[in-house]
């Protein structure tokens, strides 16, 4: 065999299989450098060619050509039926009767499913056993699924679903935090941690303040709504295509509800059209219902939620009322902090334990709290069960303490940035209220100092003050806020991942791992890691759909952990095969292991080299196994929830943002004039992907704190159940002057190529926008900081300016 052959095979087969797209995809994008890139040095002095590079998203060409397949695009098997939901018209009550005769009689209807048709357990909850597939006796929220219709078309199913007659004995629902507090209803026990004698610290403090901050929830608004397609196989087997961040949980719960072993169920997902936490637990129910329908009819069944239904039946970011008290010294340094997070969890526990715990873990953000009592209540309301959302509770905890910083600064008449810096974790002041030591306090200090200088904070503060002195209607505000975000699942056992790598005889590589792709670029990052390991071009690594059949018992792709965990697992799998190849080579050609390098699609050893594909073929013939699994678990972490102490986080990710806004004091409208961001992604695995996460996260956070307002009416109906009434940011909301940079520093923990997780932390950079708006309101009033709740809609801003409306 000629040596070049293998390489030729690789380029022609490794490229995207759509020949018409080949030209397009192989044109090296200007910013990515393509194949002929100069190597960079790894932190241990090795030469790296594929990681740390801004490669485009692996599906980029498919996205722009409309050929990337989402659940609803999968060609439906012959005879596929469609499912629609029947939703409760009341928020709380006893279900006395349900007349489905008209539903059954409607054109195209094949089956109608209720709780009575569940062969296994009527429960889709992740842990607490408190969430039925279909309501049985009790209705818990307006829009709760009560039945499902299976029909020949989606249109027929949706029409039929509206024909049911409900007989529900209505009870007054709990909608607000106050309703739930009055009733004393919770989904989980109250929980508190902290340290020191807070009351003593507060009473001894030279200054004291207290306040209440209301923090709104947030709809995920993933562009692809929830969808699942269930295809029955032989003898009860079922394949579920689900737009889920957690295929293993879908698998397990489908099995639980159908009353069959896990091994009968396979869940697969190639990509999601966005997840953001909204498909971590809450994709399960739709997959389960599709599976139930498939089981009942023996035919493939698809359930794709209508957008308005999606917004009504899926949970959101937890809204909270934070009641706080703080004591501080003349420099604004906090001496004691007491805060209660009253979290509205909705009708069931879902992930509220972890979410609200993370709120508490981030109640300090970047600030040392010598004495602190951090308390939480997980309130039960008759609204949809709130769930994971990028940041997983962290943003609420951080926003509250940022508000406190502004209050302290306003009281002392100091620049809020100075107050923030005075409170930063520092050597000797480096232990969090839950007992974890912040080992790298210098990182945030350096990062903020750099941003402060780069964005010209002091001069702009003077300019803003001058502007406000001469402008009557328009007022400006400025704020620079930090982010410190803990990385790891706080449920320690979730910090594990598996991967499966095959090398085929032509040298092409099949990559699979437990992580799911929802747009965050996980797949390309992990592929870069594998390409690096084998020294082959990225196009030789075929990225494949996540499936419970290849990697079992996976954790959700969440907590920003995707590349940390799966990148490591894939690297371990690839390294296993690579090591076998090295050993084979050393034996065959009598060279030392240290002499072997993999690069440029070849293997170099001594003075010789072989095409990677040729080596693989030889290894195959020598009966070397070319498939391996990899498994990774995060080291060093532990958490004792009962004691409220431990090291729940492997490390912290840092960032900071400075925002400048102008508000119109006649209407409360505002415009974001400029944003500067400096963010720590460690040694970024893929700077382009990471910049995308930072910008996208920031803009999403900005929406949460500004225009995205969830309104439930007194009957518990969500009034803002469509994009016409629920307003996420559009292109013009992003400032023209938007400066985003990566802070270059290696992760001090041994993560994959010393990178840092970047999925969630940037969302909280948007706290700067909220604080800047509050700063402008302060300028408009001239009498200190006025109460301002989140989201700061134009109405909220005007109310803050004028008092009551």
């Amino acid at each position: 065999m000629r040596q070049s052959e293998g390489t030729e095979n690789l380029t022609s087969r490794g490229a995207t299989p759509r020949p018409s797209m080949r030209d397009a995809s192989s044109r090296p994008p200007a910013t990515t450098g393509g194949a002929a890139v100069a190597p960079v040095a790894g932190d241990d002095g090795t030469t790296l060619r594929y990681v740390h590079r801004p490669l485009p998203h692996d599906s980029g060409v498919r996205h722009v050509s409309g050929t990337a397949l989402y659940i609803d695009d999968i060609r439906e098997p012959e005879g596929t039926l469609h499912v629609a939901l029947g939703l409760s018209p009341v928020a709380r009550g006893r279900l006395r009767g349900l007349d489905l005769a008209a539903v059954r009689a409607a054109p195209g209807v094949v089956a109608v499913l209720t709780a009575a048709d569940v062969p296994g357990r009527n429960d889709i909850s992740p842990a607490n056993g408190d969430e039925p597939v279909f309501a049985e006796q009790e209705v818990l929220f307006h829009g709760q699924p009560v039945f499902a219709v299976v029909a020949t078309t989606r249109d027929a199913a949706r029409r039929a679903a509206r024909l049911a007659t409900f007989d529900i004995e209505e009870e007054p629902p709990s909608i607000t935090v106050e309703d739930a507090l009055a009733r004393g209803e919770t989904v989980l026990p109250d929980y508190t941690f902290g340290r020191g004698d807070v009351e003593a610290a507060l009473s001894a403090a030279p200054h004291r303040l207290e306040g209440v901050l209301r923090i709104g929830g947030q709809e995920h608004f993933y562009l692809e709504g929830q969808a699942a397609l269930a295809v029955p196989g032989e003898e009860g087997d079922i394949l579920v295509h689900s737009s889920t961040q957690h295929p293993s949980e879908v698998q397990h719960i489908v099995a639980r509800v159908l009353g069959i072993p896990d091994a009968f169920v396979t869940c697969e997902v190639r990509r999601m059209g966005g997840g953001f936490g909204g498909k971590e637990t809450q994709a399960t129910q739709w997959a389960v219902i599709a599976a139930l329908a498939a089981r009942a009819t023996g035919r493939p069944c698809k359930l794709r939620l209508d957008r308005d239904d999606d917004m009504v039946v899926t949970g959101k970011r937890h809204d909270m009322r934070a009641d706080w008290r703080v004591g501080f010294d003349g420099d604004g340094r906090i001496l004691g902090y007491d805060i209660v997070f009253n979290a509205r969890c909705g009708c069931s526990a879902d992930l509220s334990q972890g979410v609200v715990d993370r709120t508490m873990f981030h109640a300090d953000n970047a600030y040392f709290l010598p004495a602190a009592r951090i308390a939480s209540r997980r309130l039960k309301t008759n609204t949809v069960s709130n769930t994971a959302f990028r940041g997983f509770g962290g943003p609420q905890g951080m926003l509250a303490v940022e508000r406190v910083m502004d209050e302290i600064a306003a009281r002392l008449g100091r620049d809020p940035l100075d107050v923030r810096k005075a409170n930063f974790y520092a050597p000797g002041r480096d232990e969090t209220p839950y007992g974890q030591t912040v080992e790298d306090t210098d990182v945030l200090a350096a990062l903020v100092a750099q941003l402060e200088a780069d964005c010209d904070y002091r001069a702009r503060r003077r300019a803003v003050t001058a502007f406000n002195a001469r402008s009557r209607v328009l007022k400006k505000g400025l704020a620079l806020t930090p982010v410190k975000f803990g990385i790891s699942f706080t449920l320690t056992h979730l910090n594990q991942a598996g991967a499966l790598v095959h090398v085929y005889q032509d040298g092409s590589i099949h990559l699979n791992h437990g992580g799911t792709e929802m747009g965050q670029g996980l797949f390309i990052k992990v592929a870069q890691v594998v390409a690096e390991e084998f020294g082959v071009g990225i196009e030789c690594v075929r990225i494949t759909a996540t499936t419970t059949a290849k990697v079992p018992n996976t954790s959700p792709t969440a907590a920003s952990s995707g590349s940390d965990l799966n990148g490591m697992a894939a690297r371990i799998a690839a390294a296993t095969i690579r090591q076998r190849l090295v050993e084979f080579l050393c034996e065959t050609y009598d060279v030392a292991e240290g002499e072997v390098t993999f690069r440029d699609d070849r293997v170099f050893f001594g003075n010789e080299s072989l095409a990677f594909a040729d080596l693989v073929k030889k290894a195959y013939q020598a009966r070397i196994p070319l498939s391996a699994t990899g498994f990774y678990r995060t080291p060093a972490i532990h958490w004792d929830r009962a004691a409220g102490r431990g090291r729940p986080f492997f490390y912290f990710a840092y960032g900071a943002a400075c925002a400048e806004v102008t508000i119109d004091t006649l209407t409360g409208e505002y415009r974001l004039d400029r944003v500067d961001i400096l963010h720590d992604a460690g040694r970024s695995l893929n700077p382009a992907i990471d910049i995308g996460q930072i910008e996208g996260g920031f803009v999403q956070g900005m929406g949460w704190l500004t225009t995205e307002e969830l309104v439930f009416d007194a009957k518990g109906r969500l009034a803002t159940h469509a994009p016409s009434t629920y307003k996420i940011p559009v292109a013009s909301d992003v400032p023209q002057d938007f400066r985003v940079r990566l802070f270059t520093s290696a992760n001090r923990q041994p993560t994959i190529y010393r990178s840092k997780a970047v999925g969630e932390p940037p969302l909280m950079l948007a706290n700067a926008v909220f604080c800047a708006i509050a700063d402008a309101v302060r300028a408009a009033r001239g009498d200190g900081l006025a109460p301002l709740d989140a989201p700061a809609t134009p109405e909220a801003v005007l109310r803050a300016i004028v008092g009551a409306l």
Binding site: S20, A24, P29, T31, P56, G60, V61, R62, H63, V64, S65, G66, L69, D73, R75, H220, F221, Y222, L223, E224, G225, R271, M272, G273, G274, G275, D306, R307, D308, V473, G519, G521, T662, D664, L666, G692, E695, G696, F698, V699, V711, A719, A722, P723, S724, T725, K727, I728, P729, V730, A731, S732, D733, V734, F738, P794, E795, L798, R799, L805
Partner: protein, 490 residues
């Protein structure tokens, strides 16, 4: 009489003779043609994931328009070429806007991407120069939850600046020829007397059809009607589409007035109105999105009687007259008199709107402000329009109308009276007018705004208008939409 609809798709004429009148273009593409590149993100015209481009012959020119396929009826594409994301790459190469999107990392989850690509393609085809306002306007109807838009805007700039040769330019002539061959003056009627999609070609035919089927649903752009189908699951057995009626989309102008035909698309209305006053241009820039403006019409926006519609208050302030027709009968009335009560208009069965005539604001002082949670593509919480006739610093006549303040778009007659005869320098008169608004309106609270907010903002908008007129300046009172900025034609 033609019993089919016909359109151009991938170079071929597609003829459809049987379809439920309510069938949307998106369902046809995804379920019948089985082209799944075009996505459904919301089914209500707000997210843009379903954006496709229609090319039509307008005065012999091939004009591209991005539209929301989710709320466009299949019948409405009669006579057009339908372009979807699958059609852009040619001869093995991505279209320049696709290529730029890949290079600038403009997609993450990719679900919004086909729609974004089509919006940018429409911009590119229209020959736009790279300009931030134009690009963000073109994207106002495309939601992306992942990227934060910066890379998409960069991609748009890059593609528009580079302007590489693309096969679409070469094929334009050919497509225009094919569309010209499709154009006929036939009335279209597909279906039966009980269920049909009809598209009369003349006003006479329309008038007759409306008399014969007073229960039929009139559809102009379907940017409202589409939602009845996708969200309220309306059956709509009888649909009369106005889009083929010759002359109904005419724009006529004389020294004093402008008359906009009922089916003048909002995009065209934007161009005409922007020429009359910059605030009208800005109002129309913020009206829905480019997709909504490409389909939606002046007549539809007025006829639907929405209390939060944006055109009516502006037109009322400008002293507009509405023209209606029923059979052979024609009548005209002041626009404000058309709106009787919440969602109740002075329109009889079988009657339809033919046009609206407005008085040009020249010589008078006009201001319009739209206040919503989000600047772009949002429905007004409050919309105020002010037209003042001022001589020697004294207000001779004030016409003021608001949207969002009552069950209908409504004049502020008490405030108007308070201003009549006052001088601009008279701060007390201004405050009297603001106070008088309380007598004009008692707004409601809803999810867009509370009654208290609406009330206060209504007063503040009046203050803002009067201040700006008095000072002749808006730099100190506006965040966006400054009057000296002119908008490019749409």
């Amino acid at each position: 009489m033609r019993r089919t609809i016909r359109f151009l798709r991938k170079g071929e004429t597609v003829e459809v003779e049987q379809f439920a009148p309510r069938t949307t273009l998106l369902d046809w593409l995804r379920l019948s043609e089985r082209s799944t590149g075009t996505k459904e993100g919301c089914g209500e015209g707000d997210c843009g994931a379903c954006t496709v481009v229609l090319r039509r012959l307008v005065d012999g020119r091939l004009v591209p328009a991005p539209v929301n396929a989710c709320i466009l009826l299949l019948g409405q594409v009669d006579g057009s070429e339908v372009l979807t994301v699958e059609d852009l790459a040619a001869e093995g190469r991505l279209h320049p806007v696709q290529q730029a999107m890949v290079e600038h990392h403009g997609s993450q989850c990719g679900f919004c991407t086909p729609g974004i690509v089509m919006s940018l393609f429409a911009l590119y085809e229209a020959g736009m120069a790279p300009d931030r306002q134009e690009v963000t306007d073109a994207l106002a109807g495309n939601l992306c939850r992942c990227t934060g838009y910066r890379p998409i805007v960069d991609a748009a700039f890059d593609a528009l600046a580079r302007r590489e040769e693309d096969p679409f330019v070469a094929r334009r002539q050919q497509v225009a020829g094919k569309l010209a061959a499709l154009a006929d003056e036939a009335d279209v009627f597909v279906g039966s007397d009980q269920s049909f999609f009809a598209a009369p070609a003349s006003i006479e035919a329309l008038a007759q059809l409306c008399l014969a089927h007073p229960d039929a649903t009139l559809v102009a752009g379907a940017t409202d009607v589409g939602l009845w189908i996708t969200k309220a699951l309306a059956e709509l057995p009888k649909v009369i589409w106005l889009g083929r009626v010759a002359g109904l989309d005419a724009v006529a102008e004389d020294g004093e007035t402008v008359t906009l035909g009922a089916t003048v698309p909002l995009s065209r209305a934007r161009d005409v109105l922007a020429g009359l006053d910059p605030d009208l241009g800005e109002l129309m820039r913020r009206f829905g999105s480019r997709q909504v403006r490409a389909s939606g019409t002046v007549g539809g926006n007025v006829a639907n009687g929405s209390p939060i519609g944006d055109l009516a208050p502006a037109l009322i302030a400008l002293g507009a007259t509405l023209h209606l027709r029923r059979g052979a009968e024609r009548r005209s009335l002041p626009l404000e008199d058309f709106f009787l009560d919440y969602r109740k208009q002075d329109r009889r069965p079988g009657e339809f709107v033919t046009a609206v005539t407005l008085r040009k604001p020249a010589g008078r002082h006009f201001r319009a402000f739209k206040v919503s949670k989000r600047f772009d593509e949002d429905i007004s919480a409050v919309m105020g329009a002010f037209c003042l006739d001022i001589a020697d610093g004294t207000v001779r006549e004030a016409r003021i109308a608001y949207g969002g303040m009552a069950g209908i778009p409504k004049r502020a007659r008490a405030a108007e009276a308070a201003l009549a005869g006052a001088t601009l320098a008279d701060g007390a008169a201004m405050e009297r007018a603001v106070t008088a608004l309380a007598g004009d309106f008692s707004p409601l609270s809803d999810h867009r705004a509370s009654a208290g907010y609406r009330r206060r903002v209504a007063g503040n908008l009046l203050r803002k208008a009067l201040t700006e007129i008095a000072t002749g300046d808006d730099a100190a009172t506006r965040l966006i939409g400054h009057r000296e900025i002119r908008h490019a034609a749409e």
